[in-house]
Amino acid sequence: MQRIGVFVCHCGTNIAATVDVKAVAEALSHEPGVVISQDYQYMCSESGQDLVKNAIKENNLTGVVICSCSPRMHENTFRKAAASVGLNPYLVEIANIREQCSWIHKDIASATEKAIILGKAAVAKVHLNTPLTAGESPVVKRALVIGGGIAGIQTALDIAEAGFDVDIVEKEPTIGGKMAQIDKTFPTLDCAACILTPKMVEAAQNEHITIHSFSEVTDVKGFVGNFTVTVKKKARFVDETKCTGCGLCTEKCPMKKVPNEFNMGLDNRTAVYIPFAQAVPKVATIDPNYCLMLKNGKCGVCSKVCSAGAIDYKQTDKFIEQKYGAIVVATGFNPIKPDKYDEFAYSYCPDVVTSLELERLMNAAGPNGGTLLRPSDKTHPHTIVFVQCVGSRCDDEKGKPYCSKICCMYTAKHAMLIREKYPDTEVYVFYIDVRTPGKNFDEFYRRAVEQYNVHYIKGMVGKVSPKADGKIDVQASDLLSNEQLHINADMVVLATAIEPDKTARPLATMLTTQMDTNDFFTEAHPKLRPVESATAGIFLSGACQGPKDIPETVAQASAAAAKAIGLLCKNSITCNPCVAHSDELMCNGCSSCEKVCPYGAITYQDKEFRMPDRTTAIRRVASVNPAVCQGCGACTVACPSGAMDLNGFSNSQIMAEVDAICK
């Protein structure tokens, strides 16, 4: 037999002014199972809580109903109070008679009547409450960072700093990402390599960090605190442990006509290659699409010159499985290819380049050794036109609907650097809007205009036509003077939109995280939880979540690390006990629940059951992982056989509330 205590709070006059609390307590005392019904001035106060605690002890209560303010306010207070005297906290129910009764009604009679009904519903519910224990799930003290750009490196360094082991999985042969390709950084114009490469080395040397370069995540199983991840280490045909990075093989390789992706295909590399001098790990990789030995079985020069004996033509893809407590996604971005825009002549005119290609053309380690030359005839350009918003802010299928955020600033940087180094070069920038929100950003842009005399023209380029004499005719509009311009340019630079890396979407499927229509990862809350995904234990770092510049990326990377550390610090995580559970005897194995579960918390297992005739049978039944289930209840309604139910909000409990209200 239930022994239920009812406690009605006056909340000063907040409740008592419009609800006759004494009458409520009196009415509820006649409800079945209620053994004590009291009212008090402030139930949430120390003495109010003591009143509840003493009543629980003295009357040996099996359930408590507090008629007070919203459960969103003090449910936890009273649950803790109950727990402190040995009553399971989930045997406490709140009837909200303040926010949803006394504060909205003026008539005492009807408000009191409503308060009594709300109290009765809570009593009816608490009759069916069962003690719940929050489960615990252990946390594996190791983090995985997917992507080894500046975001991934920063996150890994911060997590390692806190003393946890971190693995970085990078799909390219080296970490460093896009920042390694950039020449200078805005708004301070310091060299990207000078600030990035020390961090890369730091990551490589950190005892807590393991770098899996030339590797990809192929499978993710498990849940927060306990992910099992399979990483494919792609065959690089070079033994990482033996290679010293001397580079002799790259010098001797006879296959020298491979487009160099690090320099955006502007020059060539060999089939066995190290992407750039400061690569981490500094290990050679053989490109099987071009290697003569791997293609035709004839060559073997690299193997002969390698004194370390690191070349291994028989290497195959290796799969490693590892457990992680937290996963940070840092898959980054790529600039789009502007070849769909015929009007910009990118696909057939070598002197029309993208901004990232210009970075390489201007970089001291780039194809021209740092001298800006036209890719077509290697002459110095005297007129350069920059086109903004190529593929950004587009409403068509060719481009992206969003603002890529970084282009305005890097174009100002390019314009400034060119004007500084080559004062005889005229620079035109065609813009729609110049967007420079950021510390010292607008000052930077103004400097380009005022000090460096860059011609900023409001308008858009409509047509780029290469001419027979090697010059490029740029037809554009100048909206402020309302005229159409023709500029005889030597080079055109397209500020192309950026898009999330192509690997992001399959990864999101593996991680059961959400993405928006542009394939950017969705954060758990756009304002208050910007670095967490909605899936527990998965964090977001850098441009995989949205376009970002380097300072913002680093800030977000550290924030993601802090969130991951917060999780890894715990030995175990407490799970919400109000989760779904399935009655295996009723489950018919239809998979309806599995399909609606947004968290992938439901799996099916073959279980052995004893049948009435004493035989056994194997049946496929649903099983809910309480550590993953968030307790939404979608499955309970989807279940056709009524096997699924939700702790704390069970079918019978809600039904009892409905009955009490409608009585």
């Binding site: 919203s70 459960p71 969103r72 909200n96 303040r98 926010e99 949803q100 009764c101 504060w103 909205i104 009604h105 003026k106 008539d107 009807s110 408000a111 009547e113 409503k114 009904i117 709300l118 519903a121 959400q514 909605a534 109000c578 609606v596 947004p598 968030q630 307790g631 939404c632 209840g633 979608a634 309970t636 309604v637 989807a638 939700l646 909000f649 079918n651 809600i654 039904m655 509330e657 409905v658 009955d659 209200i661 409608c662 009585k663």
Partner: protein, 146 residues
Amino acid sequence: MQVNENFEPVIVAFCCNWCSYAGADLSGTNRLNYPANVKIIRVPCSCRVNPIFILRAFQRGADGVIICGCHPGDCHYTSGNYFTRRRITLLYSMLDFLGIERNRTRLEWVSAAEGAKFADTMNKFVEDVKKLGKNRRLEDLRCRKQ
């Protein structure tokens, strides 16, 4: 149809914990009045509302049932309210079939910030149900005392 001035309908409101229940709290905090006929049941998500609960309410004498959830796209559980939307749409046809007026059931999206919308919605709903008058009581004949 004659409107009974003294008719006080019984209204059951299912509110999701994250948006609409908080929205209801907000209308209380802002002292925005709505009729005492509305009694709220807290559910974790609008998708927890089994259509059976709604039928049960009608069976037990409710004159109107309103389900409130987060706005589409804002669900705390990412997709719960989409399920609700589909389920309630199906339920509408069933209620039509049973002869329960369409206006007695309603699905509304109320966010945690929309206290005023919650109060307005409830005022409007109670008014609509009052116009419809007392509900024809659904009854489980198996439970009828002989």
